[in-house]
């Protein structure tokens, strides 16, 4: 039996207000918001939670997370991933289907959802593969997966290389109004590459992945989406030109949304100095010009969503020479502190846009309930302390994997509490 | 390190006198034998050159060479910078040669040990003798000079410096006392 809680003294941000504003939130014993107003007096029988100096954000939502279960539970499980999500301030995540076996049937969708209900402190939705076995040859049972709860389909990790098959996938998914998400690259151009092709890859002597691999694939996918109708979502956009292509398609009426990761806003190929595989992911870190263009896109709404592409790998796997190491870095726990320290705190990214892209829009695109401070809605918000800091190390992170470029760093800002319904997900003491 | 200033041990005229005496002793010890004079870089080579010039002026021609012992040192591990190598130059057959090795200061004897090791890598000399300008004691190896300019009593941690015009722009042998290192 839980008590009503009054979260008082804090500043709230949401997608509609640029500046944080004073808001007290009274959450009833049933976990629903009873009242939200600038000043609420504490009453008897109500647990008062002092939020002075803290910022209240609607729960964040990450629509691009690799949870590795089934198959690679050494890297991450649904449980550990869910805990990492909570630690990062996320109250909802979407699992990618490139597990082992890949999620390409209703049965496997159900399996993931069941495990998530049992083991994850935050809701986990799942996506399904576009093609059987993610092999790019035949359509997976799309309708079946949707019926079991899949919220989108993607062969993430790979594009659907066969353009004809991809066209049919878009048309079929359209019938069920199911979102098709795309990992955009031309495999033949990217093959063997380890980082962005350019001056840096030359200096490091590493094979490169040219930007046009992504640009060409985005163009192809959007033309097919225009032909097929239906909704398409471009994942992890990393290039300025790729973003331009998306912008033009949007202007043209194509029903496209797209996402960018925090690392593609904050880091570039210049940060790869010492063959540190914690800077290796696909799509790779590009140039500082791309960073700037992507941030601009986020600010002007051309980019709809922020998503981490959380890709855990064990230390053992990543402890290889750069060219051989697997692609991917984690992101759930570092996302908010890294964006806060480098962009929000410096005024380059206003809170409302962050909330729009990292909470409201991903839910809206997937047809899910939007988290907000409105009476009657289930409580779904986090407390963020801008004066605290978060240290990222093996001892302090929830994820089973440590492959993040921020390993060993202490970043300003910390998620101190996650309020989900009647539950407080993080321990009372600060992380 | 506290320096209490330089003391002059030998002035230019003394140095010239000592070198002439070394040259004379060498001639007396080897009236006819062909000799090879070999100086250890840097100042040993200067000293050797002067003796060589004196002997030549007196009609006594000898072979002349220089030795860089950098590669034969026994303390390379501890050095933060590696000394530049100039290389050795021994333009005469070492095999069967009668060599007189020159160095400016004889101290622990390790430099001479390195020079001996290097010389025998070039061949097997008939004999090697040693000529030094200053012997300051504190030997760590059983090495003694055959021709000596001046013997001096010094403390282990003192600094004895030989200056030649060719290398230092001035002539003199100087002693700098310092406090013992902890």
């Amino acid at each position: 039996m839980s008590t009503p809680r009054l979260f008082h003294g804090g500043l709230a941000v949401d997608a509609d207000h640029a500046a944080p504003r004073r808001l007290d939130v009274l959450v009833g014993a049933d976990g629903k918001i009873e009242r939200a107003a600038p000043e609420i007096k504490p009453a008897a029988g109500v647990e008062a939670v002092d939020c002075t100096g803290k910022i209240l954000l609607p729960g964040l939502f990450d629509m691009h997370v690799h949870l590795r279960e089934p198959g690679r539970e050494d890297e991450e499980t649904i449980g550990s991933g869910g805990r990492a999500a909570a630690r990062g301030g996320f109250t909802g995540i979407v699992a990618m289907p490139n597990t082992d076996p890949p999620i390409d049937s209703g049965g496997l969708v159900r399996y993931v959802r069941t495990l998530a209900r049992e083991q994850s402190p935050v809701p986990v939705w799942t996506s399904g593969c576009i093609t059987k076995g993610r092999a790019g040859q035949q359509l997976a049972d799309i309708a079946d997966m949707q019926q079991q709860g899949a919220v989108m389909i993607t062969d993430d990790g790979d594009p659907v290389a066969d353009a004809y098959l991809f066209r049919r996938a878009l048309e079929y998914a359209r019938h069920f109004d199911l979102l098709v998400a795309c990992h955009c690259e031309v495999p033949e151009l990217s093959r063997g590459g380890a980082m962005n092709e350019g001056a840096r890859s030359y200096r490091l002597g590493l094979p490169g992945i040219p930007a046009c691999s992504e640009e060409i694939s985005i163009a192809r996918d959007l033309q097919l989406a225009r032909l097929a109708g239906g909704r398409i979502h471009i994942q992890h956009v990393s290039t300025a030109r790729g973003l331009d292509i998306i912008r033009r398609a949007k202007a043209d009426g194509v029903r496209v949304t797209c996402e960018v990761s925090p690392h593609h806003l904050l880091l570039s190929e210049d940060d790869i100095t010492d063959y540190d595989t914690n800077f290796k992911m696909n799509p790779p870190l590009r140039t500082v010009e791309d960073n700037a263009a992507l941030l601009e896109g986020l600010l002007d709404g051309s980019i709809d969503v922020l998503a981490t592409d959380h890709a855990p790998h064990t230390e053992f796997e990543k402890n290889l020479d750069f060219a051989s190491a697997p692609f991917g870095i984690t992101g759930l726990e570092t996302a908010l502190p890294s964006l806060f320290s480098r962009l929000v705190r410096t005024g380059k990214l206003p809170w409302d846009i962050l909330v729009r892209a990292f909470s409201r829009e991903p839910r809206r695109i997937l047809g899910l309930e939007v988290a907000d401070f409105r009476e009657g809605l289930p409580a779904d918000f986090i407390l963020f302390d801008p004066e605290a800091s978060t240290h990222f190390s093996a001892d302090t992170m929830e994820s089973k994997s440590r492959n993040t470029p921020f390993l060993g760093q202490t970043l300003p800002g910390a998620v101190v509490q996650v309020v989900l319904g009647a539950e407080l997900l993080l321990g009372r003491k600060q992380p | 390190m506290s320096e209490t200033g330089e003391t002059s041990l030998l002035a230019a005229p003394d140095i010239r006198h000592k070198i002439e005496r070394i040259a004379a002793q060498i001639v007396e010890a080897h009236p006819d034998r062909p000799l090879a004079l070999v100086g250890i870089h840097t100042r040993g080579a200067v000293l050797c050159r002067r003796v060589y010039d004196i002997l030549r002026a007196r009609g006594r021609d000898t072979a002349f060479g220089t030795l860089d012992i950098a590669l034969y040192r026994d303390d390379l591990d501890n050095l933060g910078t590696i000394p530049s190598i100039r290389g050795s130059d021994l333009p005469f057959p070492v095999e069967g040669a009668h060599i007189i090795l020159f160095d400016d200061v004889l101290f622990t004897g390790r430099t001479i040990r390195a020079a001996l090791d290097e010389l025998v890598d070039y061949g097997r000399p008939a004999r090697i003798e040693l000529a030094v300008l200053v012997d300051r004691g504190h030997r760590e190896l059983p090495i003694a000079p055959d021709y000596l300019g001046q013997s001096m009593s010094t403390a282990r941690h003192d600094h004895v410096r030989v200056c030649f015009t060719e290398t230092d722009g001035r002539e003199g042998v100087f002693l700098t006392r310092s406090a013992p290192q902890p």
Partner: protein
């Protein structure tokens, strides 16, 4: 000959990029007396006596390995060779396991060659031994660049303002990257000539590209440096045939005669593909420096072994990262 103070010692030599001009000149100056030792009957000096040099070659190589072995032995070091084929070591834990095993054998120097860029750097972080990169993927081959710079300096004296033309498969060549870098650091002008398919994008601006061999020779390079072409590149669509490659990009008889007329020196890191990169006649040309390069390789590698300084071996319970 440098008269400034010698540069401080490093732990590792991983690439040319990180060396200063002073360090490079110091190494070239130091290689000279090592080369003079070759005329002695006793070619050894005791500078590295008691030290162990491990050759850790993950990629096969007879020439470079032999060169390092001779260099180490001439410094009186003990040498062990670990030739590991690609198939048996493909996972990172094997590299680290190998390195850890070597730790317990108290190896002082590791000479590492690997098909993947960054492996010597990776190993250097995990061992107090001094690590020398003997070639890592397409990234760097610093000792090759040093012996080439030594050879060039030996041939013409000071290299400032001199010109080097690099020809051939630049894209896949770590020798190209390291030699062009060392040339630049020594204030040489760098020209390149190759099919566009084999010219790496992202290369620095200072390289002047020529569209024909004749145009490149008109530029009057002091050195023409030919890079080896691997036959496999044909299958990967970098050029249509070896015949065409030789005809357009090789040192044909006509071009060789032009080089001879101009007194241009020819270099090649070896092994040479006769009839592809050059014609046989080049090898007997008086200004063909190829054999000189091999000879100088030993002296240059001796200088490197002499200069580098392994870190102090930690106690078993105090394992730490070792910065170079």
């Amino acid at each position: 000959m440098s008269t400034t103070a010698p540069p401080a010692r490093r732990k590792d030599l991983l690439d040319i990029e990180s060396l200063t001009r002073e360090e490079i000149v110091f190494l070239l100056d130091t290689a000279r007396p090592f080369k003079d030792l070759f005329d002695r009957s006793v070619k050894k000096v005791p500078a590295l006596r008691g030290k162990t040099v491990l050759n850790l070659f993950f990629e096969p190589s007879t020439r470079t390995r032999a060169s390092f072995e001779i260099a180490a032995k001439r410094l009186s070091a003990d040498v062990t060779n670990l030739a590991i084929t690609q198939s048996s070591v493909t996972k990172g834990e094997s590299i680290l396991d190998t390195v850890d095993t070597m730790q317990s054998m108290k190896v002082d120097y590791m000479v590492v060659r690997h098909a993947a860029a960054g492996v010597p750097a990776f190993i250097a972080r995990h061992t107090p031994a001094a690590v020398i990169n003997a070639g890592d993927g397409n990234h760097a081959h610093p000792t090759q660049a040093l012996l080439d710079a030594f050879t060039m300096r030996e041939a013409v004296g000071e290299l400032d303002g001199r010109r080097i033309l690099l020809v051939g498969d630049l894209l896949h060549s770590r020798v190209f990257r390291s030699v062009s870098t060392v040339a630049r650091k020594l204030d040489m002008d760098v020209g390149i000539f190759a099919p566009t398919t084999l010219i790496p994008s992202g290369r620095p601006d200072y390289m002047q590209a020529f569209s024909t061999f004749d145009e490149a020779l008109e530029w009057s390079p002091d050195f023409v440096y030919l890079l080896r072409l691997q036959r496999e590149r044909q299958a990967a669509h970098f050029f249509p045939s070896l015949r065409e490659y030789h005809h357009v990009f090789g040192l044909t008889r006509e071009r060789f005669l032009e080089c001879r007329r101009r007194g241009i020196r020819i270099m090649h890191p070896g092994p040479v593909n006769r009839g592809v990169e050059l014609v046989d006649e080049v090898l007997t040309y008086e200004h063909c420096l190829i054999n000189r390069q091999v000879e100088n390789g030993i002296a240059a590698r001796m200088a490197v072994l002499y200069w580098l300084q392994p870190a102090v071996t930690p106690l078993p319970d105090e394992k730490e990262e070792f910065a170079s």
